[in-house]
Symmetry: C2
Subunit: 442 residues, 2 copies
Amino acid sequence: MSALNTDLYELTMAAGYFVERKTDEIATFELSVRRLPEARNFLVAAGLAQAVEYLRELKFQPEEIEYLRGLAQFKQTPPEFFDFLAKLRFTGDLFALPEGTPVFANEPIAIVRAPLVEAQLVETYLLSTFMFQTMVASKAARCVLAAEGRPIVEFGSRRAHSSGAGVLAGRAAFVGGCSGTSNAEAGMRFDIPVFGTAAHSWTMAFGDEERSFRALQKLLGESTVFLIDTYDTIEGAHLAAQMGQPIWGVRIDSGDLAESARQVRRILDDAGLREAKIFATNDLDEYRVAEFVKAGAPLDAFGVGTQLAVSADAPALSAVYKMVELKRDGGVYYTAKFSSDKITLPGAKQVYRCADRDVVAHYSECPDKYLGEPLVRPIIAQGELIEALPSLTSIQKRSLAMIAALPERLQQLERAQPYQVEMSPHLQAMAQSVREEMQPAK
Amino acid sequence: MSALNTDLYELTMAAGYFVERKTDEIATFELSVRRLPEARNFLVAAGLAQAVEYLRELKFQPEEIEYLRGLAQFKQTPPEFFDFLAKLRFTGDLFALPEGTPVFANEPIAIVRAPLVEAQLVETYLLSTFMFQTMVASKAARCVLAAEGRPIVEFGSRRAHSSGAGVLAGRAAFVGGCSGTSNAEAGMRFDIPVFGTAAHSWTMAFGDEERSFRALQKLLGESTVFLIDTYDTIEGAHLAAQMGQPIWGVRIDSGDLAESARQVRRILDDAGLREAKIFATNDLDEYRVAEFVKAGAPLDAFGVGTQLAVSADAPALSAVYKMVELKRDGGVYYTAKFSSDKITLPGAKQVYRCADRDVVAHYSECPDKYLGEPLVRPIIAQGELIEALPSLTSIQKRSLAMIAALPERLQQLERAQPYQVEMSPHLQAMAQSVREEMQPAK
């Protein structure tokens, strides 16, 4: 986690704020999503733990500062700026939705209030961190809903956007309700259950399927999952049936999974292996899982890889990090953007989850007005963590409970009538007054 | 780079190979893409430098081994396996396409030949590393082709799948022909030109556009790029014109970019700023860039973000890592997979780029037969790098030259008649003979 891991313009702006003596101004930035992707009825907030880690460790290394000094963009920057950078730490506040909270467009996922330079510098890192995990957690939640109680395991490390993304995808998928991941590092770092037994190459390395199955069973005992489709799924199933106990189940990774599963189920049952599970993989997503469940295919668990780890049908969120307030010379200035297709509302916000809708209000409004649970919570105050973050298990519990409490229509895979998110009258009035004061007048 | 950053099944298989005394067998695995995505006429190989770094540093930490010991899957594993893991390093060979090489479906991007456990263990990391960078380099190449000589800068860090992916996206985009990146860490680590000046928040922090422009110009001099659309693009352009020299140009990030650019061009020209550039951003991709170029819009350079950094229209490649040969007891066994929808061909391969097609042949075939350049090169031998890897600048040069040498139709954005990739007669005969010998007989 390098402080240099940011867009260059965050650093040129930092230099400018330093030169213009704006380093004491306190800015508030809000991180939110402009629109939900087509195929999402809600998102699941995730990534807060990594954002917190980053903010608490934010620091430039001497060689990073040397690098910046040498860039053309800093040719005219006074040397004092680089001393300032060397001492820079995050001393501000962070407010955020707890991980696992379902969230909608234009609701703050995180709010940073800090000296202008700090608040600006962290934009790039916070956006990619919150957005990637939120995206994967949201996709995972859909897979979990589609599976109607059958376990979903995240299997996508190999297709993730770099090995580091694979580890974080395992974490985010767990936040969204997955039962575990294939990624061993994610398992260790985040204390997530890990799954996986053998690949086709295992069978190929023995040349002989029967020998490979016998070796696997000896190795894994009750955890044994025979991958039965290296040569022929039905013959593989007969062989697995013949191996008998101990066995957890079999995995099918190609062909017509539903049809194969029916035949394989019969073969296992006929051999008295009624408890043996059938685990399905092969380019699955929530739609295919839902089809299998609807068709009553005897598939007991699913490994979802690529589609989950890269959120393939929505591989990016329209996430933004916008300045909404600026404290300067004892006054508070509310800021907003009204350019044609990119509007933001002024002021730091709170979200109230009411019975049938959310209300987004200015944080200073009286909470009693909205009869809903305030969702945005203080996480870091003046650079210090306010309280330990919850465990991933309790995050997942929160996530599953809050998703189950959403209106029924949002829990379907099909695009539903959007959840109602209202901007409070006070917030609308603030926006209007900022617009009127704005330079240049329009 | 943790050795634990892999799918758990690579580790259970490793334990199995250890128990079955198969650790001296030498396996060859091939990394390739099964199909090109719909909107790609070629891919650009990338990621080799990171793969090499990983292989040379591969090592388990004591705490990682402790973690594995505690997993249910390793309950029955003899303790000697964990001593073996602690000593494990990569001692094998790596062959690969040099970075920047255009590559097609079913051609090896990388080949690993190593003791079975090592070759298997590295699968997950190598797949995600090669595939992510190859994906981004390929998308970048399309943007660069579309721009017909105008510079493209990679601007997608904030939407990348984690902050680490953002850094690597900057690198991969440069391999594909981009002029630089906004990511400062990528700039430092990989010696790539970095770009970026100011965001909308810069203007908002001053409250007054004119003051913000003056401060920017003082800071950046000839590097100054005014972002002119915070309030109103045309008024912003007039203000930029009024600021005069020094200026590099202006950036427009919203609205109808082509139409705005025409008006802005006139305003700048009328002020005598004919040399000032117009830089466009706002959810661009190769299609939008091509439209602007075709329409003659006076846009001089483009920042491409989200669509490039996540390769949004093809956010994953159908990449596989398959065992193709196994040396055991002095004999070589060729392996392949013929299950319904997932076929692989046996044997380690070479790719010959001939005048109008590629020929994929077994590596032992005489190169003179194919009258083409052999593309796969030895990179690591017995764990040691054979020669220093080329600089990113020379990689980019190679990439641009080889793309320019592809048939004209492949250099278009539209899906073209696929490039011809032939499997050599020898390779086909090998596949047939493996199929006939395969267990169980079909």
